[in-house]
Amino acid sequence: MTWRSPLALVRDALQGQRARERELRSLVSNLPYEGQEKGKQPNRFFLSNAIKTTKYSLLLFLPMNLYEQFHRLANLYFVGLAILNFIPVVNAFQPEVALIPICVIMFLTALKDGWEDFRRYQSDRKVNNTPCFVYSRREKQYVERRWKDVRVGDFVRVVSNEIVPADLLLLYSSDPNGVCHLETANLDGETNLKQRIVVSGLGAANLGFEPESFNSAVVCERPNSNLNHFKCFVEKPDKDKVGASIESLLLRGCTVRNTNHAVGFVVYAGHETKAMLNNNGSRYKRSKLERKLNVDVFFCLILLFAMCLIGAFGHYLWLESLPGVPSFLVPDSNGHLDVPSLESFYMFFTMIILLQILIPISLYVSIELVKVGQIFFITNDIDLYDEETDSRVQCRALNITEDLGQIEYVFSDKTGTLTENKMVFRRCSVMGTEYPHKENAIRLDVIDEPESEEEVIFNQHQQLPRSRWSLEAEGISPPDTQRHGRRRKSKVAANAHSDAAFSSPLETEVIPDQKLLQQISRAESSGGRRDGNRSFDPHLDFFLALAICNTVVVSAENAHRQRECTSPQSSQMRNPLETFSSLVKKAGAFFQRDKRNRTLSEDPVIDSAKTEDEADANRLRTCSLHAPSQNGSAIVEAEELCYEAESPDEAALVYAARAYGFILLARTPDSVTVRLPSGEDLVFEVLDTLTFDSNRKRMSVLVRHPVTKDYVLYTKGADYSIMELLGTPYAENFSGIEKNVAADTQYHLDCYAKEGLRTLCITKKVVSESTYQSWLGERKRAQAAMECREELIMQTAVQLETNLTLLGATGIEDRLQEKVPDTIVALREAGIHVWVLTGDKPETAVNIGYACRLLEEEDLVINMSCKNKVTCTAILDCTLEEVRRYRDDPRNAGTTQNISLVIDGNTLDMAKSPDLQERFVELTKHCRSVLCCRVTPLQKSAVVKLVREKLKVMTLAVGDGANDVNMIQAADVGIGISGQEGMQAVMASDFAISRFKHLKKLVLVHGHWCYTRLANMIIYFFYKNVAYVNLLFWYQFFCGFTATTMIDYWLMIFFNLFFTSTPPIMFGIFDKDVSVEVLQGVPELYRTGQGKGEYNFLTFWIAILDAFYQSLVCFFIPYLAYQDSDVDLFTFGTPLNTAALFTILLHLGIEIKSWTLVHWIIMLGSVALYFIVTLAYTATCVTCNPPSNPYWILQNQMADPMFYLIVTLCTVVALLPRYTFHVLKNSVAPSPLLQGRQLDRMDPSTRDQWIKEWRGFRGGAPAKRYELSDPPSPTLETPVDFFPEFLPDSNFMGDDLSLNVITESRQRAVHT
């Protein structure tokens, strides 16, 4: 490095700063400058690719870590006190010793921080030294470099399965179509492949890319963290601009798949890459308990000040009352005595030092430890483990476990959260005719059976698929069976290799509807005759649309991600005959509908059922369809296809199309290959894809038909977004009957919705050449625009999507996850208001609402849906009035009505407006459950915020998709469900679970436990410190308020650090007030934690008062015993200390609800430790702690019976009130929790009976307080897994309407 003037350096730095800050960056290739000094490099201002995530460096660790730690106010406080101790006039202890506690605590924290940072350093180093290939001009080839040497402007070659080292603009791909597949699982957890396209129009890019010839400038935006957005254009030397978007960006950290190699231009490196910008560490949330705790710490501070003031004032009075200067008043080293007022001023500070532990120094550390323990137990809970994905519950936010125990409002997403998000094609309507797909429905019911014997299924499938090959010749399409085995396997297999998204047998298999199949074959055969026109048959078009109009990526099965797969299935071939006979047996079993058998052999049954169906179908089919000769190879080929979709709906549709013979074979950016039922492959040229967005709620694909050469636009989308765009009915072109397809389809759509199906409309539009050309121009302009590109692109999309022709509609089922109704009922019984926020239409949502028991038959359901604000206001007022009247009605006095609210997005927006929100919130307060339909992600979070802020309640949001991220972040506790839709929700969440049902145990059991444990522990901690400190305080009245301690200072430190520190931590981690079974069986117990919970003003002050009382007892009993005797100071302090130890430990003993071995060990261990350490200390330490000298004190005391008498007496008298209080309370007015514990003591069968009876009892009168006495005879629970008939209510659909009470409580029986 040559010498450069400092001025130049400064100038350079400024320039670099400016270059990095600029909105647009212009980057050029580094190659022409290779080997030149740094100052000449054009891209020198941008960050290099080396990353550094460590917080500290070796040299600066100490100061920086200290600086970090001093951000904690508590640490500052304690250090301040320790320093105060060094001032001679105010010190209370030997200053060096006073430093010990804070030093120990800070040292531990520093150790933890240092270790974490070291781990980060190691991983950084590993990442930075990963090799990659960078083009070098000197060597004329790609040479191996390390990641950290990659700079902006370099050309990097990545090969398949390699991780992308920096954000690359894709310039070349070995794929002939110029695409590159990218797996972003590392980034957002989405397992589906994403397709990235080479920046188009860069000349002969396809003929091997020459980095040296790249002489364009890449202009891109400033780095940002948006993973789905990138704006850039490449400016060629001739000033021609080519736009590029996220579609051409390879993101750092992603893996290249299915592409041999690709070359990219580094646009962002190191910390400027999107991956790093997104990686902003774990979140810190402060729990409600902790906020309350801080208030109480403040109270303690006030208490401390009061006590210190008393001390200072007392000292003053005592000095004033002295008759002169007695010999025990020691002057300072100069022989000088200060005046009393000054002395007492100093004494104030000395008192603060003396009584400092009133503010519990170890509380914060203990809380952290307890939370670590709690999280350990939560993550180790086997009930929260999901075998299918092999995932445990993850606690991502480490410090809000106890918030789980205080939840009052749960906001849930529907799709993927309540439901599986495994989309299953259920039925469709084509050209106004409904095809119910009954067989399909039966199949799904079979699958619905719970899997009980995973292992058995696993074994069967190892053999079955192979054997099924023998059946292939019969013309049955076997692709699914193969998939079967694999899928099953992967279900049980290690999770690391998660399978392709959305490809469980449930989703991939569709049994075609006979009628529709015939219809297609008829069309197919008739169309075959007049070749050119056949695709005009709307049925064929419908399925073509299903196959084409999507963004599903096809990947070859065998090459799938080229990952290591679990070893291939055993190739053991079984005798075909045997196989067949076993199949028949199983089929027989199926028809017997023997449930037990079905659970064991669910899949083969489906197969066999399917086999038969399809065999039937084949018989009916004409030979042109599925000719065996053609099928042989074709099917093998098709079978190996694997569809990867971004949304499960799309995959479901593609699979449905495949079932009817329209097989999507390949998709490149420019073309789609579809195999028709006739076996013919059609290659459609894809002209453009108008991607889905939440405003349009539809997506379209513009293709060129290979035969007719027409420009065809296939659009699919939500019915309400499609219906208004319809042009002339398709039926006009159709020969003969004039049908109002739209009306019929709409009717079917409504039916679907009522069944709880997700609906999509499929349309087609033929675009004329001229229209297309003019549109294309605009489209291109929009794509190259730097400013508001999104809006422009959307506008062009809207322009084209008009005058659509309706082909049909599909109904896709999204099944409820298992135990969802059970969970929701439990949550509601726990006093939690459950809100479901969904983007679905109200009908679908309401139906799901009933299915998951969010809404009950006997509920009063209020439906709010209005178009303008005036009506909205009116409805709101009216409803509120209604609700109040209902509540005030004396007839309803004993019962609490169950009001539910259904509201749609528009109305919600109006209700949220500032003038109405008070009323809205008031209304929702009365509602047990609320269902919001058609809400956008933003609305979701707005609702959460509104409720959270207006009602000041604890909210929990649970969701699985990117659209729930806002909501999850807005709530106090965010829970992500790691499901089908990637990891974005999980990334944003505080806890990640894999099934919705886990919420029940997580909240009701772990939440309750964590909260009670922590709350009790904190109360205990305050009590402990106040009790102990007060011992010192009372003594001040006898030593002239001179801050003398009657306990050796080391022993005082030990007392807090060793003897009494582990029991509360153990209490906070292990104590179990009520067992899992009872907590889950009686969710009402959860209410104890809600609202103020157990840690409130009252309990806190009771604990403090008790601490005062106990310290009084522990001090004055020894005092009276030793009054006027020859007792010396430490001899007096020893029984005091011992009594305090026993009192404090036994106090905890009273509070501990269940004693396990751990409890015994720790409690007895603490006592033993006290005696061992104290004995050892007093025996060995003759002069080690001058001037304090506790030599042989305890030994002497322990030889004196009086010691034991005093300790016993103190402990008993001190604990008597609390003990008596507990006993009285438990005997006279037992709390629900205590009753829960009583249930625990019964033997399991009796207990279950009780819970069941009681549940039945409660079923009648839901709001009745928990009472165990005299439950009526048990009523059987209604099976939860059923869809109640949707209540016919014409008004419900009405748009501009209004309040309607759907069910006026269908007179429920009121048990008293």
Partner: protein, 358 residues
């Protein structure tokens, strides 16, 4: 626990199904209700009651005679004398007479007591050097700074034993006389050793190694505390082994009392004498008190003392004198002289007096 950490294959991340991790450890959960607690309660009450009765009997068998000699008998003269600082050097002895109605059987302990003397002030307590009293030569000549300002005198000569505690040592001496008749009296023999804890006498307090030197030579180069008349090596003229840092009066004094009103053991009745074989017989007694510092008096005669039934102390804090300090500030003067002592004798049974507050 027991299982290997590196599991692989399916369900690799499945948590252990152990009782500990699943929080299913067998537990005892006591229920605090009247039914379960009352029997235990009654049992405890009975035990406590028995214990209380036993203690009560014990207390009643303990005899105690307390005597406040502040201005009893002719001690008020000495008291008045001491009020004037200028007379501090004058010796003063007085006699207090009392009688015992019921003989005190067994071991009899003789205590002196002080009222409103705060041995428990933080700075007072810190003002000592355990290293010095342990006999460390280094500390002998160079006392710890905790002793300041009583570590060295104005000339920089180290003080042994240093510190405020030693400086303010109580040094009245007592002789107890038993009057067999109005004319004949015998001194009651008191053991002046064996008053301290074994560990204090043998481990915590030791004289510097003598190496064939006399104690006086060892302590050369130090001076006694400012208020002392005698050097530390000649505190007990009768028993050469009771001198230096291991002087039992010093050790007893150095064990700081917990409360401002306290007593300290002065002597134990020597029952070798046939008259006192069974304890103190009833009769008339008197205590001769040298109402001053032992060094001033010169004679080491044991003093008799007074005993009295325990009764509430009168508050007897007298205004002390303030002597103008040459340096201009306020200086503490001799604590003993200024603050009056109440003192008492306590004779107990062998237990040394187990008192309980029940």
């Amino acid at each position: 626990m027991g299982k290997t950490k590196n599991k692989s294959g399916p369900l690799a991340r499945r948590p252990d199904n152990s009782a500990f991790k699943q929080q299913r450890l067998p537990a005892w959960s006591p229920m605090l209700t009247a039914n379960t607690v009352l029997p235990f309660f009654y049992l405890l009450a009975v035990i406590c009651m028995l214990l209380g009765v036993w203690l009560l009997l014990l207390v009643q068998s303990t005899q105690e005679i307390k005597l406040d000699y502040t201005d009893l008998g002719n001690c008020n003269e000495c008291f008045d004398l001491r009020r004037n600082v200028s007379n501090a050097a004058q010796t003063c002895s007085c006699r207090v007479e009392f009688s015992i109605d019921k003989s005190l059987k067994g071991d009899v302990f003789f205590y002196y007591g002080l009222k409103n003397f705060h041995q428990n002030l933080r700075r007072y307590m810190d003002s000592r050097d355990d290293g010095q009293t342990l006999g460390r030569i280094k500390n002998l000549k160079n006392p710890s700074t905790y002793c300041a300002p009583f570590d060295k005198d104005n000339d920089g000569v180290p003080i042994a034993p240093c510190g405020a505690i030693a400086n303010s040592m109580f040094n009245d001496s007592f002789t107890l006389n038993y009057h067999l008749s109005s004319s004949r009296s015998v001194p009651v023999p008191l053991l002046r050793t064996g008053l301290t804890w074994y560990t204090d006498k043998n481990i915590k307090f030791r004289n510097p190694r003598t190496d064939n030197l006399t104690l006086a030579e060892v302590f050369e180069g130090t001076r006694p505390p400012l208020y002392w008349q005698k050097p530390v090596y000649s505190l007990d003229p009768h028993d050469p082994n009771n001198n230096g840092f291991i002087n039992e009066d010093l050790i007893v004094w150095m064990r700081e009392a917990a409360f401002p009103n306290f007593k300290k053991l002065y002597g134990i009745l020597n029952r070798a004498d046939p008259i006192f074989e069974k304890g103190l017989p009833k009769g008339n007694y008197s205590i001769d008190i040298s109402y001053t510092l032992p060094g001033q008096e010169g004679s080491g005669a044991d003093h008799a003392d007074l005993v009295r039934r325990p009764e509430p102390f009168p508050a007897d804090c007298l205004p002390g004198n303030q002597q103008p300090d040459p340096a201009g500030g306020r200086r503490p003067h001799r604590g003993l002289v200024e603050v009056r002592k109440g003192w008492e004798e306590h004779e107990g049974m062998k237990h040394g007096g187990v008192k309980t507050e029940d």
